[in-house]
Structure formats: C-alpha cells, structure tokens
C-alpha cells in the first residue's frame, strides 16, 4: 500500500471513528439520519492501525468517566448485578435483564394500577398489631415502628408455604385441611413466594416477583411515584398511591402505608399481643431477636389469624415477620407467609426509581390523575 493510500485509509478510518463516537451513529440508529453505518475496509487494515484504533477507542471509553453522572450510574450498575446474582444464588431463578426489555408502545395504564407495594405490608404490620395488650409489648412495637421509619436500606425475602397451624399459638386457629386434593395453581401471574423486597425508610420500596417462566415483575416506589416494570411491556408510573392495590392477600391489602402513625391509631383493636422469649432466627444466628406474637381476637378485624415479629434487641430493626393462615390469590388453602431480612447493605441512590430497573429506551407511561 502506498503512503497516499495509507493516508486516505487513515483519514477514512478517523472519520468513521468520529461517526461512532460523537453521536452520528446514535442519530442514524434513531432514524434521524438517512446514511447507513459506514463501511470500514477492515481487510485493508494492518496491525499498527488496529493498535491505533484500540488506543483511540480506549481514549473515548476513558473520557466517559468524566461524566458527572458516572458515579451514581456505577452504583446502580453494581446493585443490579448483585440483585441478579442474589436471585440466582438463592432461588436458581434466571436473573432479569433490564437492558433487554423490548420497547413496545401500548396504552394500558389502568391495568397496572391493580398492582402495588408489598412494602406496605411490612410498614403497616407494626401498626396493625398495636393493640392494648401490655405496656411492654406496646412500647416494643412503638420502637419497631420508629426503627422502620428511620432505618435506611433493607433487603427482605418472602417465602410462602402451607400453613402449619400446630406451630401457632395454642389459642390460634384450627388446623387447616391438607391440600392433597387441591389442583396446582394455574395462575401464571407473579407470586409472592421467592419475591425479594428492598426497602428504604418508611415509604420507598422495590419488589421483585418471579413469574412461573422465571421472568421478573418489579413493583416499586420512590416515595413520590409508584411504578411497575414488566417483561417486554411499557413501564407504568403513577404519582397517586391510592391508585394502587397490593399484590398481597386480600386480607392484608387494605393497610395504608403512607401514614403509619394514623394507621396505628385506627388499628389498635383486634389483636392480643404478647412478647415471647428472645431467640435466634437460625441455628448459626448469634443474635437473640426479640419476639412478639399477635393473635387476632376480633373476628371482624381483617388480617391473618396470627402474626409473629422478630426484631433486633438493640436497634428494633425487623428481622422477620411471619403471617399465619393468610389467603393467597390462586390458593384454596391458607398459607404461611414469611418475610425475612437478608441484608442491610446500602443500595444505590436511585435504586427506588423505576429507571434503575429497565432499559433507558423502554417506554414509560404515566397514569393520568
């Protein structure tokens, strides 16, 4: 190759690099430029040119670290990976791939408003069982509620299993019938079993729920907007919390989660609550978690027959909540639902915004108030 050919090739090569690096490729990809991707005569390039290309492309890559938003994006990126591997590690579920969510333009905002936040269950529960039992139990619950409001980031896992009424308080509900004759659920909607719940403060949450196909449906709220991310469908967003209904058992779905204190006042009757001996949550758990057991005494009161709460002896952080005899959608027999703390790791600053859980180009539809 002559030196003039070489110079022409380098010039063309630089032009194409600029086309990729400075926004033209993106503009063309969005259909705003008629020109197709330029053809680079790769076969004519020698090793020196490949090396120069790698160098220039690396400079371009390094320069992207100058972006002010990079630090926040980095944290979100890491949290996404960790959430995905945790799902795989614990449940063997193939992790969601938010950036692969395909973009579809559809207008079914109303449908999403039937879904809402599991977090309200956790936030509301402390107030639910706040009944006139003993001063020490009431004081303990009050501390649990305060800890809930003040705590920073927490990650919980949800499990659902057949109720074992024998394990309940002796004055609890009658044993349920075995489910041997019950057909398996045909509901393909995401369930709560194996769901993962991320919580920040008193009103921010993200709930990952697996479907039977191993995909993920993600509910969340940043305290200002509630949102729903579903595979291959638009992201749905609403700023009106009252639009939402919980993806929770119907009997638990009425708990307001915005104003915990008011809820405390409204729901102070209906349960008898006692504090039991402190205990570890697993065989290798060094913490002796304080334990409250609440049993429904008013049949008119909505809610599960019994609720157990384990909370940290010093911080009052909820380590586990177990609901006995709750009726789940698609299940004929009552179930036991357990919500267990798995981590208090600080999550990315934008983890509770919908944007952290789907590809940037995914359509976002806002509910009209």
């Amino acid at each position: 190759m002559s030196s003039s050919d070489d110079a022409r090739l380098r010039a063309e090569f630089d032009r194409i690099l600029g086309w990729w690096m400075d926004g033209d490729a993106g503009t063309a990809a969005r259909g705003h430029l008629p020109e197709a991707t330029p053809e680079l005569p790769v076969g004519a390039l020698d090793d020196r040119t490949f090396s120069a290309a790698a160098g220039m492309q690396l400079v371009h890559a390094l320069l992207q670290h100058l972006d002010d938003r990079e630090a926040a994006a980095r944290k979100t990126r890491i949290e996404r990976v960790l959430a995905a591997i945790h799902q795989e590690s614990v449940h063997g579920i193939e992790a969601p791939r938010p950036a692969m969510v395909s973009v579809q333009r559809r207008r079914h905002v109303g449908a999403m408003l039937r879904w809402a936040a599991a977090v309200s269950l956790l936030i509301g529960v402390a107030s639910w069982v706040y009944v006139a039992t003993s001063n020490s139990a009431i004081a303990a619950l009050a501390r649990v509620v305060e800890a809930w409001d003040e705590s920073t980031d927490r990650t919980y896992e949800i499990s659902v299993e057949p109720s074992d009424s024998r394990a309940e308080h002796k004055a609890g509900p009658k044993p349920s019938r075995p489910e041997s004759g019950t057909p398996p659920p045909t509901d393909h909607r995401p369930g709560l079993d194996r769901a993962v719940l991320y919580v920040r403060g008193g009103n921010q949450f993200v709930l990952y729920r697996p479907t039977v196909k191993g995909q993920m449906v993600i509910n969340g709220s940043n305290g200002r907007e509630n949102w729903l991310v579903r595979p291959k469908r638009p992201v749905l967003v609403s700023s009106d919390p009252s639009d939402f209904r919980l993806p929770m058992p119907e009997s638990l779905a009425t708990i307001p989660f915005v104003d915990v204190r008011s809820t405390l006042l409204d729901l102070r009757y209906g349960y008898d609550i006692k504090e039991g001996p402190a205990e570890p949550l697993s065989a290798d758990d060094p913490t002796q978690w304080r334990h409250l057991h609440a049993r429904k005494i008013d049949p008119v009161t909505k809610g599960p027959r019994a609720i157990s709460i384990w909370f940290h002896p010093t911080t009052s952080l909820i380590g586990q909540i177990r609901f006995e005899q709750v009726n789940l959608q698609g299940r004929q027999q009552p179930r036991r639902m357990t919500i267990s703390l798995v981590s208090t790791r600080t999550l990315a600053a934008d983890w509770f915004d919908h944007g952290a859980h789907h590809a940037p180009e995914t359509t976002v539809e806002h509910a009209v108030p």
Partner: protein, 180 residues
C-alpha cells in the same frame, strides 16, 4: 472457587464486581458505542462470570478472565448486530486487553486513581479542544449539540474532537497510561 460456601462465594463475587466494574465498563465502551448495549453486555458478563465462578483460577488475576468473557459476548453480539459496535474484531480486542491490563496494573486504589493522568491530559489541552471535550464527555452532548451551542459547523466540531482525542492519546502514552 468451588471450595466456598454459597454465601462466601456471593461475598467474594461482590468484592470482585466492585473492584472490576470500571475496568469492565471501560473495556466495553471501547468497542460498543451504544450505551444501552454496553449496560446489557456489562450485566451479562457479570452474570456469566457468576455462573462460571467455579471455573475461575484464584491464582490468576480476575480482570483478564472477566474480559475474556466480555470479549466473547461482544463478538457474539457482533455476529447478531454489528451496528452497535465500533471497530471490533479479535485483533482489536487483543490490543484493548493489553491496554486495559496496563492501566489495571498502575498504582492506585481505585480506577479513578489509576487513570488520574487522563484529567491532567484534558487540563493540558488547548482551550478550544478542552472545552469541546468537556462538552462532549462531561456534559454528554453530541457533536450536533455542541456545534449548535458554539455556533460552528458540525464538521468543525467533529474535527476538533478527533484532534483532541489524538492529543489525549499522545499525552496518555507519554504518561505511560497507554501503550506507545
């Protein structure tokens, strides 16, 4: 890594993810211009690494192993859709791997520490070039957007960016960040 319990493996992997995120993003951004595709390949690389963690030889550095996975995913993506990628074939990936490894081996606790020379080189650019690079990368504007803002032609901005990157490459070579 097969001798670790699941919890230990998850903890070890979390540390490796945190240590290698910027390196991997740099590697991917050097061959993929389309940012959503970069994010997707990043996630996919980390998940494949997690699934194959038992194959990782702890006596060897993690970065090259991770880039090996990423490189294979990039080439697989290229076979499906070339339009998201810049110049990307096995030779370019080999050059990149060497360059990124060179940066990884520099002193510094964080990736930012290791590439501190970049900010020095940007600061040393002639003013029009420095301003254009800043608007392109720190403010994430396209060449079109910068041209409109500075009231110069699109082609002038593209040439300025091209020249600025060439100056930066030379500066980074002098400072030992890039291979000559």
């Amino acid at each position: 890594m097969s001798d670790l319990s699941p919890i230990q493996a998850e903890t070890v992997f979390e540390i490796l993810v945190r240590e290698n995120t910027e390196m991997l993003m740099t590697y991917l951004r050097a061959v993929v211009w389309n940012q959503p595709v970069v994010e997707d390949l990043f996630q996919e690389t980390m998940l494949v690494a997690w699934r194959r963690l038992h194959e990782y030889d702890r006596t060897r550095p993690f970065g090259p192993w991770l880039r090996g996975i990423a490189g294979r995913l990039v080439l697989a993506h290229a076979r499906k859709s070339q339009r998201d990628l810049m110049l990307c074939d096995e030779e370019v990936l080999e050059h990149l791997d060497r360059q990124v490894q060179r940066i990884s081996e520099r002193t510094g606790d964080t990736w930012d520490d290791k590439i501190a020379a970049l900010r020095e080189c940007v600061a040393a650019l002639p003013e029009p070039h420095r301003q254009t690079i800043w608007m392109r990368y720190q403010e994430d504007r396209t060449a079109d957007g910068i041209a409109a803002l500075l009231d110069v032609t699109h082609e002038a901005i593209k040439k300025r960016l091209q020249r600025a990157r060439a100056l930066l490459a030379s500066c980074l070579q002098r400072k030992g960040l890039l291979c000559p």
